[in-house]
Symmetry: C3
Subunit: 343 residues, 3 copies
């Protein structure tokens, strides 16, 4: 894909701080996979499985580790981490629109809000009393920033994001459209006939360099704060309930559901549509498989799963019905073992 930006290979090598072997003047106009690349495009080899594509790829240059130099006939950029270098390259080809500094005429900014330098506030955005927006903050069209919310430097809210009152975002937090931070946690006390609301008195505190996808919800704490620590990346449609603490640099994939008061460690990966429930703690560096449920604390790093593997429905059904007899099956097996031992 051509992205309307162009660099000489020499310029790109400098931007990425990598060594170039090949034609300095070669024009790079886009990025692609080894297989998908064509002339003018830069590609990368990260997984050695694809090393044989180094020869057949039509890319004009390829980011590789030093050890693949001999296998790569064309222009190459040498990096210890080609995938990370490629990730960095994407920013130079990103031509998404930049929001202009200034307050759009249709935005409603309370006069007590405090705005830093170079702040951009989009059309029809609403900034409530006592909100504080640091330098270079971008608030997209239609966003709502509640009373006394605090946005650190270079935070960016895409359009139609909602921040409730007194939410705090660190530096460089990016939140995509439709997400809601700081709605009431879900807490009620049952009085025998009806649910009595527990007003949610805490807030949400989000660290630096956090990215939050579209349509995600993070609730405010009941008594204390819900916390999202530095470097956490959260995908779309994630639900993080009140009082959760998500440890630094963890990755929360799409549609994950984390129930109230769960603590997730640092450098964890919660796979897509996985869940955690029950006031539990999850250790650092835990990886939970897609659509798996964690209902007991995990104290040891590693990979965890629940569920079963897909089958044709007809076969699945026969097995799933037997699952309902599994305890009985186990006991009957034990009985046979016992009788055999005796025999």
């Amino acid at each position: 894909m051509t992205h309307n930006k162009s660099y000489t290979l020499a310029a790109l090598a400098e931007l990425l701080d990598v060594k170039l072997i090949g034609d300095e003047q070669c024009e790079i106009t886009g990025l692609a996979t080894l297989k998908g690349a064509g002339p003018g495009q830069l590609s990368f080899l990260s997984n050695p499985i694809y090393a044989e594509q180094l020869v057949s790829s039509r890319a004009s240059a390829i980011l590789i580790e030093e050890k693949f130099i001999e296998s790569c006939p064309g222009n190459k950029l040498i990096s210890a981490s080609p995938y990370v270098a490629f990730a960095k390259a994407t920013q130079f080809f990103d031509n998404s629109p930049k929001n202009p500094a200034g307050i759009h005429a249709s935005a409603c900014v309370d006069e007590t809000a405090v705005l830093g330098k170079n702040v951009s506030i989009g059309a029809n955005a609403v900034i409530e009393a006592d909100a504080r927006l640091a330098d270079n903050v971008v608030v997209g069209a239609g966003c709502y920033v509640g009373e006394a919310a605090v946005l650190g430097e270079s935070c960016r809210l895409h359009s139609n994001v909602t921040l409730y009152h007194r939410i705090t975002l660190g530096l460089n937090v990016e939140i995509h459209s439709g997400s809601v931070v700081g709605a009431d946690g879900f807490g009620f006390a049952f009085d025998g006939t009806k649910s009595v609301k527990i007003h949610q008195l805490g807030s949400v505190v989000i660290g630096d360099d956090v990215e939050i996808g579209a349509g995600t919800t993070i609730d405010r704490g009941a008594l204390e704060n819900t916390e999202i620590h530095n470097g956490v990346k959260i995908d779309n449609q994630v639900q993080i309930a009140h009082n959760c603490k998500i440890g630094a640099h963890s990755i929360i994939c799409g549609c994950v559901a984390i129930a109230g008061s769960v603590t997730v460690g640092r450098y964890c990966i919660m796979g897509g549509a996985s869940g955690a429930v029950g006031h539990i703690s999850i250790a650092d560096k835990v990886q939970v498989s897609a659509m798996s449920l964690v209902s007991q604390s995990i104290t040891e790093a590693g990979k965890y799963s629940s569920g079963t593997i897909q089958m044709k429905t007809a076969q699945w059904k026969r097995n799933a019905l037997r699952f309902q007899q599994l305890d009985s099956i186990s006991k009957r097996l034990k009985e046979i073992e016992n009788s055999t031992d005796k025999g």
Copy 2:
């Protein structure tokens, strides 16, 4: 956490209608758990497991049942239901912003809309023709209230809520940001080559004292209405499809997915990320575990689950592969039993 409000213990006892034993003049400035509490804070004992913390807690006063009076050395408030009393106390420490009565200058309110007394309409909200908002209704910034929608007294829409046309809300319904009530139910008739839309002619009728979290969707009915009965509490990111009926006082936790035409009884609890599918009925007082799927009607109160329990992925995989042979395992076991019986 200190919440900027302060009451003497005597005043709080009166507000909560409970008996005070201790210092009437003690100032309470916040609420906390037994373990987390410090001076100035009120805590509570609900689960007897934590009774030993009554002595060590630094709380300035504790809500307890009468039977714990001897175990609690400091100031105490006596209640038959300390947790419910605590829930009630949260409202007195809630200092979330109050929306000012009146229509914000930037809101678009159709001239045929009928507004009660003391209605608050936020910035950039849109109220369509023939909508009726009863007394004390709050419509947050950026909300959309469709044609002929009806909002009962004291309803509150947080910012960026969408109500489609002809939706009806009872008294005191609260809806959090990003939620959508009344979008088209998902209905199509397949004509052999393509899906023909079934226009959704019903609506959504929501009873009194219902709370709906952030990012939740409730679809309008196909021919009749989707119904959410009195006192139902719905968390974030819940999907309730067309024609569902959710019985009074049921609790629908985050990320629950309820497919079309499902009837949920009264006083049910659908655990987080659980689901129900297949035009089924669920009896009163049923509790469904987190991430469990209900695909057959439930006629008896009680707790229901599906799925498996988390394991390390390596072990899980071995077992999950065996699940695919479970019917065969069962049959082979039966064969051995038969041959043993014969032997």
Copy 3:
């Protein structure tokens, strides 16, 4: 339900292009199921199981196949596909509000945007630079249409929809409130201490006649585009990650989660809250059961499932604990079989 529209049976027969047997002047004022119908209502028989209701139904007319003529005593409309005919009938009783052509005074439309004939832009909507809206496009209140987005003829965005920059919609695409198309795909390269963002340079291309429910998110591609092909119908709260391709006429039910780079075939049905993960491909005409996870490519049409069936929690727990021993159970069974064979 009466829907404020009325047709003679003769007029309806002509609109639906079906044969009428009975009273041409009979007034039809609404639609209903056989069981729910009353005087003035048209019903239908699709599933032969309900054929006996043809006699007891109080409907004023019934859409039936020819073979049921003898079983249906009253007015009837004869169709080879009564359910499809009924679906078509719903449009004639749909009285949802029509958005007036023109640009609402409060909308912000960039002067470089290109608008076709008869375009409707609602209150507080924002249309960015170089966006192109073809004839008869409807943009609801509070929508955001990003830079250079393209909306084909007769597209309809309900209120509070967000389209990012350079998204392309085909003809007659309908998107419900709260949905977000074109947010960044979730891509990061881990550099050993932190996640480096992979800027998402692709876009989202949506074909003709696609419907997207409320609160759904479809991410833009990393390098190439995410694609939704013609006739696809997507329900609420669905997440479609970057680089996915959803084949023509597939049905994606509520709360489905499709991870990055998954290809779904044509005429598939992904059941409610099901998922797909792992850069896999799913063949045409595959049906995935509710809450099932597809983690391996499917090459053959048919029905697929994973998970287990609901049980009372007490029983379920016994079985679920045994699941954790299933590999051992299987091996022990094999051992007994071996020893029996030897014996």
